[in-house]
């Protein structure tokens, strides 16, 4: 365990140098900092499980509440416009008298759903390409590695703008855009995991015992890679959600009728100079909270299913 972690520590610095494989869960997009566990002193698996459950329940309730409030989020009340935050209306209301708390929750639900769809598709792409690179021979490996380098070679936002421009704005444009751009880091991890697994003693042993490649893939590789894929999928969420919000904010994503954090924040731009600071502050904080919750869920889940980290 110790050498494995040490190996990951400095190696990210030279990420462009090596295509050599990385230790588990080590994504190198430069955004990998989200993925390290926040606390190292919880040894109790039960406590981890309970925290994970609570985190998931909070996230799920946000989605359910958001879907339930979707219609109310659009409700305007000009009698109550431009109100600052108060006890009864903690997030305040905007210049059309819309309740910002309801709008924020509905927006978060939209973000989470876009993130869910995009991250799942992205993880599927990552799995297929990563596995093909690892198992498909030298040419496939070179081609996919090159494709990954190509994807990482253009700044992420620029690529997202291009894809959204190609597909058109709106829900599908942004979901497809986010799905198509978030797989490279996870594909690298999957490729590395499979390569590592292939070289392991238990696979060599199974091979010597006469197991067929498909049997090895099913019995040894899938259980080895699946936890990584699952954790990778959950840890894709924060990036997906943040990019969805960013792109919507720029005007490439969801349309203004849909409640979303990106729209809320971009609309608030025109009212900040009038001193309506609450329009930007609280929705942004809520978004950060959701991102942190997802990140927490991912690292807790990893701690539960990754034997190397279960002692942390």
């Amino acid at each position: 365990m110790v050498p494995k972690r040490r190996a990951t520590a400095g190696m990210l610095n030279s990420k462009t140098l090596f295509n050599g494989h990385r230790a588990a869960g080590d994504y190198d997009t430069g955004m990998n900092i989200l993925h390290q566990p926040l606390i190292n002193n919880t040894g109790n698996r039960l406590r981890t499980l309970v925290t994970l459950t609570i985190t998931s329940i909070i996230l799920i309730s946000i989605v359910i509440a958001g879907i339930y409030l979707y219609g109310t989020a659009m409700h305007t009340d000009f009698a109550a416009k431009s109100l600052g935050p108060s006890l009864t209306n903690p997030f305040g209301s905007d210049w059309m008298g819309r309740n910002m708390l309801i709008r924020t929750v509905a927006g978060l639900a939209t973000s989470i759903l876009v993130g869910l769809l995009a991250a799942t598709v992205s993880a599927a792409i990552a799995f297929i390409l990563g596995a093909t690179a690892a198992l498909g021979g030298k040419k496939a490996d070179a081609a996919i590695t090159w494709l990954i380098d190509l994807m990482l070679g253009v700044p992420h936002i620029v690529l997202l703008i291009l894809i959204s421009f190609a597909i058109g704005r709106g829900f599908w444009g942004i979901t497809i855009g986010v799905a198509l751009t978030h797989w490279p880091s996870l594909a690298r991890v999957i490729r590395a995991e499979i390569l590592q697994c292939q070289e392991s003693n238990f696979v060599a042993c199974a091979r010597q015992l006469g197991r067929r490649p498909l049997q090895i893939a099913r019995d040894h590789m899938l259980p080895y890679v699946f936890p990584q894929l699952l954790v990778g999928l959950i840890l894709l969420f924060p990036h997906a959600i943040l990019h969805e919000a960013a792109l919507t904010f720029l005007g490439f994503g969801l349309s203004p009728e849909q409640p979303s954090i990106g729209i809320i924040l971009s609309e608030s731009m025109g009212h900040l100079s009038a001193g309506m600071w609450w329009l930007a502050l609280f929705p942004g904080l809520a978004l950060i909270l959701v991102v942190l919750l997802f990140d927490r869920a991912g690292s807790l889940l990893r701690r539960l299913i990754d034997p190397y980290r279960s002692q942390e």
Binding site: T16, L250, L272
Partner: protein
């Protein structure tokens, strides 16, 4: 590095660069062509389009090449690019090369400031955290980094704008120069004054990455045998960091920072939008929203080239400083795990 190997390496990198730009140009072109946006409608506006005669529409379609097949259009465009003609920007009504030049000149101050500040602050925070590992400074710095990693750049920009420009009035509300002054009247002070807040936003977000990696690297160094030897000789922590640490920590940090250029450019798109800063990032958004195909394609190529140069510089620097990597590279074993094993064992893992 021997001459022949150096030549081969440069040639390889050049080839890689050309191949990358070629691939990016194809991807960009296919994406742009797949767009449902009709360039004529988007550029003349709805009213003008409806009132336009059929002949005029056909003439415009001809002008923008909407009826030419994709491959032919690509070849035309590519041929023009090879001649140094990137086309004309529809939104800015000027040659694309000129727009990019002007915009990049404005963005460059911002990017350079953000890149340097985030690098220096991140590096110092990383070392501070590692030295105080598991004590409160370390915890604070780590918490700060994790929080920043979850913070949307544009939201932080909005908050800074509200606090420092609207409430406190310390900085201007946007743009890169005071409004209503001729180009000659703008002083360097004005330029910097306008760039500080966007640059600060960008750097604060950029700090997290470099700080966490510097922290890991410093912890590695502090656990090494040579540091133990130095400690047993009676050297203090400050002296150990200065004499044994910096050399080992600084260059990986610079490399990482060079490789992070892509992130900073991405962030600048958002920050420039919030601060109405007329840089390359804002041009990218305008081009994307306004269907300015030529400009969008050129910006994508330009940013890909910048990222490539950053990565190449990181590669070269790493090889220059660490002889173990240079040697393995010259043997032609750049791929696979060999260089890494060498480094791991040399670290004493």
């Amino acid at each position: 590095m021997p001459g022949a190997a150096m030549l081969r390496f440069s040639f390889q990198q050049l080839l890689k660069f050309i191949l990358l730009l070629f691939a990016v140009s194809i991807v960009v072109f296919v994406l742009v062509s797949a767009s449902p946006v009709d360039p004529i409608q988007a550029n003349v506006g709805q009213t003008a389009y409806i009132n336009m005669s059929e002949a005029k529409r056909a003439q415009l379609a001809e002008y923008w090449g909407t009826n030419t097949p994709l491959i032919e259009r690509y070849l035309n465009w590519f041929g023009a690019v090879l001649h140094g003609d990137l086309g004309t920007s529809l939104r800015y009504n000027a040659p694309v090369a000129q727009v990019i030049g002007q915009r990049f000149a404005t963005s460059a101050i911002l990017l350079a400031l953000a890149w340097t500040i985030s690098g220096i602050i991140g590096f110092c925070l990383g070392i501070a955290a590692a030295v105080c590992k598991d004590h409160w400074p370390d915890r604070c710095i780590k918490a700060y980094c994790f929080l920043l990693a979850s913070t949307p750049t544009f939201w932080l920009a909005l908050i800074f704008l509200t606090v420092f420009s609207v409430l406190l009035g310390w900085f201007p509300l946007g743009f890169s120069q005071p409004i209503g002054l001729a180009a000659g009247q703008v002083s360097i002070f004005d330029t910097i004054h306008h760039a500080v807040l966007p640059a600060l936003t960008l750097s604060i977000i950029g700090v997290a990455n470099i700080a966490l990696h510097t922290r890991e690297k410093t912890i590695d160094v502090l656990q090494s045998d040579y540091v133990r030897l130095a400690r047993s000789r009676g050297e203090g922590t400050a002296s150990i960091i200065r004499r044994h640490g910096l050399r080992n920590i600084a260059l990986p940090a610079v490399t990482l920072q060079l490789a992070a250029i892509s992130e900073i450019i991405g962030g600048s798109v958002l920050v420039e939008q919030v601060f109405s800063y007329p840089g390359l990032g804002q041009a990218a958004v305008t081009a994307g929203l306004g269907s300015d195909v030529a400009l969008l394609a050129a910006i994508a190529l330009f940013s890909a080239a910048l990222v490539f140069v950053g990565n190449l510089a990181a590669n070269l620097l790493y090889g220059l400083v660490d002889p173990r990597i240079r040697r393995t590279r010259l043997k032609g074993r750049r791929f696979g795990r060999s260089p890494r094993k060498i480094e791991d064992s040399a670290d004493g893992a």
